[in-house]
């Protein structure tokens, strides 16, 4: 049976630009999907400094738009949409809706909290969030089905996400936005690979974990099972 798939990719940086490529390839050539929709969401522009880890065609353009142009040429069975904005409390309810599959690839806890809260309010949603430091990272999987939490939300155990002390991109000054931390493309790849594997496992109904940690330095990954906290 062909299934309806609406995926929202939030954040098209080091991880998101890889995720949307792999995901689009999977959806485009999979027999199970009928015109899958992928919405690319990012308010940032692609800059020269991004070349080190990110694959885009046009510099100076909005990342969502230029990525869509690139993906359109390769994956004609996927319907692409763009939202050239940063996600915040005001626009999140419009951007994340019932039955969405959200691939959250942002680099700040503030946006993670906003998206996690929104998903907790929905009845049916799949949220896969990934992030990385220089050589290691983690992927969290939140699934809600028929109003019931199947796995804990992003913030249930992570107090740093429940009470973020950082800023979202639309709260940052130009100076703050231009500040970059050292990043490694290989670690972005690993984070993206784990997010896509999580997507595949959820899709196959094989979800028995809610978080995966990985480490490039030790070449290890470990999945964690956590109990759902009743609200």
């Amino acid at each position: 049976m062909e299934e309806r798939v609406y995926v929202k990719v939030i954040g098209l940086g080091g991880i998101g630009s890889i995720v949307c490529d792999g995901l689009s390839r999977f959806l485009n050539f999979g027999k199970d999907f009928s015109y899958p929709r992928v919405t690319l969401i990012d308010g940032d522009k692609f800059e020269t400094k991004n070349h080190e880890r990110q694959n885009f065609i046009t510099e100076g353009e909005n990342k969502a738009k230029t990525k869509r142009d690139e993906l359109l040429t390769k994956f004609r069975n996927v319907v692409f949409f763009t939202e050239p904005v940063f996600v915040n409390r005001e626009n999140v309810s419009k951007l994340v809706e019932e039955k969405d599959i959200v691939m959250l690839c942002v680099d700040n806890h503030k946006t993670r909290k906003v998206v996690s809260d929104r998903c907790s309010d929905l009845n049916d949603v799949i949220l896969i969030s990934g992030g990385n430091e220089l050589e290691d990272g983690n992927v969290q999987i939140f699934v809600k089905k028929n109003g019931e939490k199947i796995t804990p939300s992003l913030t249930d155990y992570h107090k740093e996400l429940e009470n973020p002390d950082d800023k979202s991109p639309d709260e940052m000054s130009c100076e703050e936005l231009s500040k970059t931390e050292p990043q490694l493309y290989f670690t972005n790849l690993m984070a993206a690979a784990h997010m896509l594997a999580a997507f595949y496992n959820v899709w196959k109904g094989r979800l028995d974990f809610s978080e995966v940690y990985f480490d490039n330095a030790t070449m290890k990954a470990d999945s964690k099972v956590r109990k759902v906290k009743k609200s």
Binding site: D107, N108, H109, R112, S129, G131, N132, E133, L134, E135, D136, G137, N138, Q140, L154, Y157, H158, K159, E160, L161, D166, T180, E181, P182, Q183, A191, Y213, F214, D215, A217, T218, K220, A221, D222, K224, V225, R226, K227
Partner: protein, 210 residues
């Protein structure tokens, strides 16, 4: 409980006695083996037995019977994990014991047992799965609560600060300054360095002023 067999005590026994021990321990192929080989086999077997016993413990039931119980607990933090005989120990003591191996902050351990939050006073039970929750990753951060098998490769901010302070103090010591100055003088007097400096000066002098 298995006791480690001493090689010297085995050497004092006759071959027949050693073969009898092997028979009791179900070690095959020893009926025609030489004394040294029999002793080697017994020592190997003993080591394995001790290792096994360390991973299991015996507890006395109410009726006085001894029962084997699995004492290993799965401990993890981030991508690092291990199995250790920790039954009966508190989560807090485990955090203290393994803080360097798992690179966890012992003051803020955020422990989960079998997927549920527990306090530091929780006493570990057989087959428990203990996780010290590692915070979610942010963009390119380094030196966070990182778990790495390459121990000492990455340092905490506190350790970095301490090292930096110690380095400053060391650099300001008169003997260090004197050594530095002396080695600089030696380097400057080398012909190849002199030639380089002179070439650079010449180049600067030849460059027309803007």
């Amino acid at each position: 409980m298995a006791l480690k067999i001493n090689r010297e005590s085995l050497s004092e026994k006759t071959v027949a006695e050693l073969r009898e021990i092997c028979r009791k321990k179900n070690i095959p192929g020893m009926s025609k083996a030489r004394k040294d080989d029999i002793i080697d086999s017994l020592v190997d077997s003993s080591n394995t037995e001790v290792m096994y016993t360390e991973l299991r413990s015996t507890i006395t039931k109410d009726d006085g019977q001894i029962k084997d119980v699995e004492t290993t607990v799965h401990v993890s933090a981030g991508a690092a994990s291990m199995n250790q005989p920790l039954v009966g120990q508190t989560v807090g003591s485990v955090a203290e014991k393994f803080k360097h191996i798992l690179n966890i902050n012992a003051r803020d351990i955020n422990p989960l047992v079998n997927g549920r939050s527990v306090s530091e006073s929780y006493v570990l039970k057989s087959k428990d799965n203990l996780e010290f929750l590692k915070p979610a990753s942010k963009k390119g951060q380094e030196g966070g609560p990182k778990v790495s098998a390459l121990k000492g490769r990455k340092l905490s901010q506190e350790a970095k600060d301490k090292m930096s302070a110690a380095q400053k103090i060391a650099q300001n010591k008169p003997e260090v300054k004197a050594k530095k100055s002396a080695s600089l003088k030696i380097a400057m007097n080398k012909p190849e360095v002199k030639a380089k400096i002179s070439a650079k000066k010449k180049k600067v002098a030849e460059t027309p002023a803007a």
